[in-house]
Point group: C2
Chain length 353, copies 2
């Protein structure tokens, strides 16, 4: 079950039984707009504060994921959840009504990778038949927390990313519990994980988070390929969370220097989620929500239909804090790798997983 | 293995192989002073900022825990770590040199309970032979984050608690990996966990965190007794993290109303860690470090020697944030229960666990 130095391969592979994405207007206007389950019409989502709006999106994402799976909240054993804000307030106020035993997580923008990893470990070990993994971010709550008041209207360099407003939720289930669906498409299962450590290359530019995170992505991808003894082409896609255009370049350069050419298989959720030129999002999207909603709305479908047979999903996080930053500290990064694979439906003999 | 609605009982019980505590001067002057592994002589611990001092204490706690177990960092498969600060900066900068695959956790002051729970789940499932669980807090970093600048000298009501400066680290190990010790005392093993959900009774007083956390402690303790079909007297001690004098009263009243008398078996780390009158700490100690260092320095020894055969350890967290608080929100609480039991050394036939 343990694989190499930092990975696990699951014998009893957990299934991503259902997933949901709830996003803001800007994300709804982007390339994946029609794929999201719910698009809020403004950044407040009908709430008095941005933070409550973000909480609401987490709550909605969980609700829709349960609904799509035909599940009640009582069927969920554990909740793995987090967001970018200090003390995880978007999460605390978002999920409290679910009344599910909860593990609060912080992995910056890599949080959904951390939640899926721990969730998969929990289901594969038989600790729960079903768990819920959820993460969120919000442009306005993140700007307020990490950068400038929005009314100040600061200029953003081209290396800056735009925090995605949105939340993605995923129900991970024991394979014997997955209900047959009428779609006949296939299932997305988590076959393994590679857990990242903190990587710090000394980046101090808070407007270039891609560069801060690229070493963490590099380290997890390389470690995954070594632990599972795979080539980069053994994956249909290797998908990072929110490196953006600048961070992606750093990653591909690092990889090339290490003798690996990722250019054919690499995709970055942050690069894809907006029409960057028209939507003026510079280096791309970022935030916990970026990788989470892209997985829920876009990536999962490709895997379920079998267009992609095996994907390495690597949400990336920059461990930025205004306190440490103002004290002259660097911005360390972390990433969490999750191997998601297609499994065929075999109706006559049940699912082959 | 699943037990009741929110608990797990481990078939292969993980052992707390070694533990370490590093604290500040005030904690060193308290009742447990002589029991801590390392007492720093001032709040800066020789570092330029309080935050770096807290990081240093985490690093030291991990180093000493490894040293006491005769272990190298390469023998640790996963790290479960957290603190109170936004974006877990005490942790990020504290543990990065360990280079261990990491899961960052946020459970406010309940974090060490969350870390021990996930760590025990990981070891019991065979995902790693050894993991490290660590948490920290620091009076000055917490005051800066949550309350007033220290130089402002605000008055504190008697319901306020004093954030413990310190870090506790624990190596959890597979039972076959535990090296025989010369002490012959016995082992502390984790036999089960009860995971808390978010509890919100509408408390809005940030100077009365005990009251905010008591409902979460109540809920986890009651659930634990129900899930394991135990009476409160089946535990030698039921130990909460940092309710303090005020929160403890609330918990005991709640319990009494529910027909359970906890007064004989209950202990609160926050009540015990300081000489409250002389040290002017009002309701008691608090912070992630409070429960963590009390477990490492005081509780574990009682269990290892067999003076206490079975303990329910329940670190408690108040999910307070200045952002949500200033927006008029309540302070929800969460708690994580860990059942720690004594196992006898049986030298002739190896450890009976």
């Amino acid at each position: 079950m343990r694989k190499g130095r930092s990975s696990l391969e699951f014998e009893r592979t957990p299934v991503i039984e259902s997933a949901a994405s709830v996003v803001g207007k800007k994300e709804g206007d982007g390339p994946f707009g029609s794929l999201f389950d719910q698009v809020e019409q403004d950044a407040m989502a009908g709430k008095p504060t941005w933070e409550e709006a973000e909480s609401f999106m987490q709550k909605e994402a969980c609700r829709i994921a349960l609904e799509k799976g035909g599940l009640e909240k009582e069927e969920i054993r554990y909740l793995f959840a987090g967001d970018l804000l200090g003390q995880l307030i978007a999460t605390s106020f978002g999920v409290k009504e679910l009344e599910i035993p909860m593990f609060g997580l912080y992995g910056a923008c890599s949080t959904i990778g951390e939640a899926l990893s721990l969730g998969a470990m929990t289901v594969a070990a038989g600790y729960g038949e079903r768990v819920l993994a959820v993460a969120s971010s919000h442009f306005a709550t993140a700007e307020k927390q990490f950068r400038f008041p929005l009314g100040y209207g600061n200029q953003r360099p081209y290396s800056a990313t735009w925090t995605v407003t949105g939340s993605g939720a995923f129900v991970l289930s024991d394979r014997d519990k997955v209900r047959d669906t009428e779609t006949g498409k296939g299932l997305a299962v988590i076959t393994g994980i590679t857990t990242g450590k903190i990587e710090d290359m000394g980046i101090r530019d808070s407007m270039n988070m891609g560069a801060a995170m690229a070493p963490a992505a590099y380290s997890v991808i390389l470690r995954n390929l070594m632990d599972f003894e795979r080539e980069e082409t053994d994956y249909d896609r290797i998908i990072t969370g929110d490196l953006g255009v600048v961070g992606r370049t750093v990653l591909l350069d690092f990889m090339k220097a290490g003798g690996r050419d990722l250019s054919e298989v690499h995709m970055d959720c942050g690069v894809e989620i907006y029409n960057r030129q028209e939507q003026d999002t510079h280096s791309g999207g970022s935030g916990c929500g970026c990788a989470a909603v892209t997985l829920a709305a876009f990536i999962l479908e490709k895997i379920r239909t079998g267009e992609w047979k095996r994907v390495l999903f690597v949400p990336t996080g920059a461990l930025l804090s205004t306190v440490s930053f103002n004290e002259g500290q660097t911005i360390p990064g972390i990433a969490h790798g999750v191997v998601i694979e297609h499994r065929k439906p075999e109706r006559s003999i049940g699912w082959i997983i």
